[in-house]
């Protein structure tokens, strides 16, 4: 059997030849590591992904969790797989040694969970949410909260959730209504309803720790009046033992298009006396606290989208090599043998498009992961500040570009399979359904566009944006020296000029006080910007591949040639899209904005 989680040559190339992850081992935090320990962790994660996660990905899609007698019933394979994550320590791979983690560089820790997502995103989500919730407590909680809740979460005894959305308030979090009343002993009683809470109830762990956004009685209206609370499903005694059931009730399960292995729940807090909650961090500062953690969480979302696209691509590639259909172009003789799908021009174009999207998306996520480490451990303040600024700027792209284009890769994987791809006999339709969530959750595509154009590009007087443009132009200068890359470098230079032109035109309109019009096409700006950045990463991949070819690098020659060809493809088939998008963006068009509601 062949695994379809990742091309291990590409993983090694991206981590060690493109992103030079071993350079991070110079930081004290990673001094105990060597490339061997990093590789051993990646090998372990892939093994667990292939043996324990992938085999039941279809089962949990077909038999999604059920609500029976107030409890959630699901396939037993889910618990077994999550037990393996707990036993191997993969749940906390990136955490410090003293917290039971392996203190892995962010890129490696992200890849460990990324492979598990690609293998079975529905099962992995329970672990991913737990880590996110634990990180939130570690960043903003008291020592007592860290010991009582985050510790057992990192051990995998307690799982976690994020409770933001309410029936009437999704993207518009400022309108949420859940109330928290102090009761005088330092704790609070919460009352309110939450919806779309992933992993909100299950029998997989001893306890579930909900991270809940709610309002204090004296809260100012809007986003500045939201506080963050820990609300456990089961109360935890001072000695760490479990106490009484808290007033958190499962009101029902939501049935989704994909990600079906993960329960999506409606939770009622405080149907009776009020759910016991504990304030995390400062009052009214909950949203800021939560978004402080978002850069890393959004790399996780982007990487999840990449890995679903990646597994789809590997399935499509395998199918195209094996499945015989039709004859060579021009051969009309029905008695000759049929050729594999991969011999047909349109199939090759679709395969290369998928390769360009998923490997480009992977490079983008790993660039973000590297910036997280440089931001935290960089040698001097200036380096750390530059990394932090670039990470802030790139985060909406890291979340959104793969969510859009690796989803498109999943669509193309179905297309390569033809009619069979549309059936449930093949897994590619499930990857598409699973991946369709990613442009929606963790800040929709539209919100990411507003974040990029409305905040990040102009942040610090445009300094982060300028720093990125400068870095990209420096790469172009370097690549122009290499004959095989000159043409691609020129094409990227022209795409950057188009993007800068669009940015300037939009800024002028915004400067003139027409902010709504300036931001009306923000999601298209996000698309153009994403293509430029991924084009840049393809140029860097091609540069690293050329070095590998010239110096007899660790991967096969065909692999490096494939990288060079994929860079050509991206430069010729994808980068021109930046030009047409920029033409539109430069006009700061308001057709959709201006049309009267009645005319739709």
């Amino acid at each position: 059997m062949q695994q379809h989680v990742i091309n291990t040559q590409d993983l090694a190339f991206q981590l060690f030849e493109l992103h030079k992850t071993e350079d991070l081992l110079r930081f004290d935090r990673y001094a105990e590591h060597s490339t061997e320990t990093l590789q051993a962790a990646l090998d372990l994660a892939l093994k667990v992904a292939v043996e324990t996660f992938a085999p039941h990905a279809r089962l949990v899609d077909e038999e999604e969790p059920r609500f029976e007698n107030g409890k959630v019933v699901m396939r037993p394979e889910v618990k077994r797989a999550l037990d393996v994550l707990r036993e191997t320590g993969l749940i906390a791979a990136g955490q410090s040694f003293e917290l039971g983690g392996m203190q892995l560089p962010v890129a490696v820790a992200q890849m460990c969970s990324g492979m598990l997502k690609g293998a079975n995103v529905g099962t992995h989500a329970y672990a991913g949410l737990t880590l996110g919730a634990a990180n939130l407590i570690l960043a903003h909680g008291s020592d007592e909260q860290k010991a009582r809740f985050a510790g057992p979460m990192l051990e995998g005894r307690f799982f976690g959730t994020m409770c933001l959305t309410e029936p009437h308030a999704g993207s518009s979090l400022g309108d949420l209504r859940t109330r928290a009343e102090p009761v005088g002993d330092g704790s609070y009683r919460l009352k309110g309803n939450k919806i779309f809470i992933s992993a909100g109830d299950h029998e997989l762990s001893d306890n579930i720790v909900h991270m809940v956004l709610a309002r204090l009685p004296d809260a100012p209206p809007g986003v500045k009046g939201i506080s963050l609370f820990i609300v456990p499903k089961v109360l935890v005694n001072d000695d760490g033992s479990l106490g009484a059931r808290n007033d958190v009730a499962l009101a029902g399960l939501i049935h989704k298009m994909g990600y079906r292995g993960t329960t999506s729940t409606m939770l009622n807090f405080g149907e009776k006396e009020g759910a016991v909650g504990y304030l995390v961090g400062e009052p009214h500062n909950g949203l800021a606290g939560m978004f402080h953690m978002m850069n890393e969480a959004r790399i996780g979302v982007g990487l999840g989208a990449v890995m679903l696209g990646y597994t789809g691509y590997l399935h499509a590639l395998d199918y195209a090599r094996d499945r015989k259909q039709g004859r060579p172009f021009g051969d009309k003789d029905p008695l000759t043998d049929q050729v594999p799908l991969i011999r047909h021009a349109d199939i090759r174009r679709m395969l290369l498009t998928q390769k360009a999207y998923v490997e480009g998306g992977l490079a983008l996520c790993l660039e973000g992961a590297r910036l997280v480490d440089e931001k935290r451990y960089g040698e001097n303040e200036a380096d750390r500040a530059e990394a932090a600024g670039l990470l802030d700027l790139l985060t909406p792209l890291i979340k959104s570009w793969p969510s859009q284009f690796c989803l498109e890769a999943n669509s193309l994987a179905i297309q390569v399979h033809g009619g069979y791809g549309y059936t449930r006999e093949y897994p590619v339709e499930q990857f598409y359904r699973d991946n369709r969530l990613n442009p929606i959750h963790e800040g929709t595509h539209g919100i990411q566009g507003l974040d990029l154009l409305g905040r990040k590009v102009t942040m610090a007087g445009g300094a982060h944006y300028q720093a990125l443009i400068k870095r990209m132009r420096r790469s172009i200068t370097e690549a122009s020296e290499i004959p095989s890359l000159k043409d691609n470098a020129d094409r990227l230079a022209s795409a950057i000029d188009d993007l800068v032109g669009a940015t300037d035109a939009i800024s002028a309109v915004r400067g003139a006080g027409e902010a709504e019009r300036a931001l009306a096409n923000a999601s298209l700006y996000l698309e153009a910007f994403g293509h430029v950045v991924v084009g840049w990463l393809w140029l860097r991949q091609a540069q690293a591949a050329q070095v590998g070819l010239d110096t007899g690098g660790p991967q096969a020659a065909d692999f490096y040639l494939g990288k060079l060809k994929a860079c050509d493809f991206f430069a010729r088939y994808e980068l021109p899209k930046v030009s047409s998008l920029s033409e539109l963006l430069k006009e700061v068009d308001g057709t959709a904005l201006d049309m009267a509601d009645e005319c739709f």
């Binding site: 059997m1 062949q2 695994q3 291990t8 040559q9 105990e32 060597s34 061997e36 320990t37 590789q39 051993a40 962790a41 090998d43 372990l44 093994k47 667990v48 292939v50 393996v84 036993e87 191997t88 320590g89 993969l90 791979a93 040694f97 039971g100 983690g101 392996m102 892995l104 660790p554 991967q555 096969a556 692999f559």
Partner: protein
Amino acid sequence: MKVLVAVKRVIDYNVKVRVKPDNTGVDLANVKMAMNPFCEIAVEEAVRLKEKGVATEIVVVSIGAKACQEQIRTALALGADRGIHIETDEEVQSLEAAKLLKAVVEKEEPKLVILGKQSIDTDNNQTGQMLAALTGMGQGTFASEVVVEGDKVNVTREVDGGLTTVALNLPAVVTTDLRLNEPRYASLPNIMKAKKKPLDGMTPADLGVELAPRLSTLKVEAPASRQAGVKVADVAELVDKLKNEAKVI
């Protein structure tokens, strides 16, 4: 009681194996390698014996190029105490492997040697048996259960007709079958600890063994793809074809 476990680096079972275009062997360039699955079962059994207090030390040995150290480290992360790497870039055939292991046995004097029954690359199923013969130890091959009692080990073996149990005096050689146990995964903290465990390197010459392959490979080919069948009209035609075409009856 000291237990010696032999492990082999082989092509990962998830890799689609491709024959080299010149038919001299399997293409191993840039292919993911891993510990032979039967060897994983051998390591697991040794670790379980240690957890039961039967084994006191587990020594893991591998033969091959420098990269074999990855598999030794994996075994150390799974619970072995120290490693021995016999380094050679030459091809090592079953008999040579057995001779090298015999030299290690003489040095280490383990009470029990556990090996996989075969490796998934060459599928020879010979090394354990040859080692037992060379050292004069008793052998329990295709083990599905291993119980150490005093100076004896009872090995339940999977044979064609079912199960058979042999009692062997220690020291003894055991080779593992698929159902002996379900190997655990190495944990991340143990991967870090394995880095600090001792790993001794040596060469076949250090052990006084000269590598001299006795078998030469003539040709390696991928299995022929299955041909389409034919439909027969009736039993008479089937019998006729079996008799005159296939010549099997």
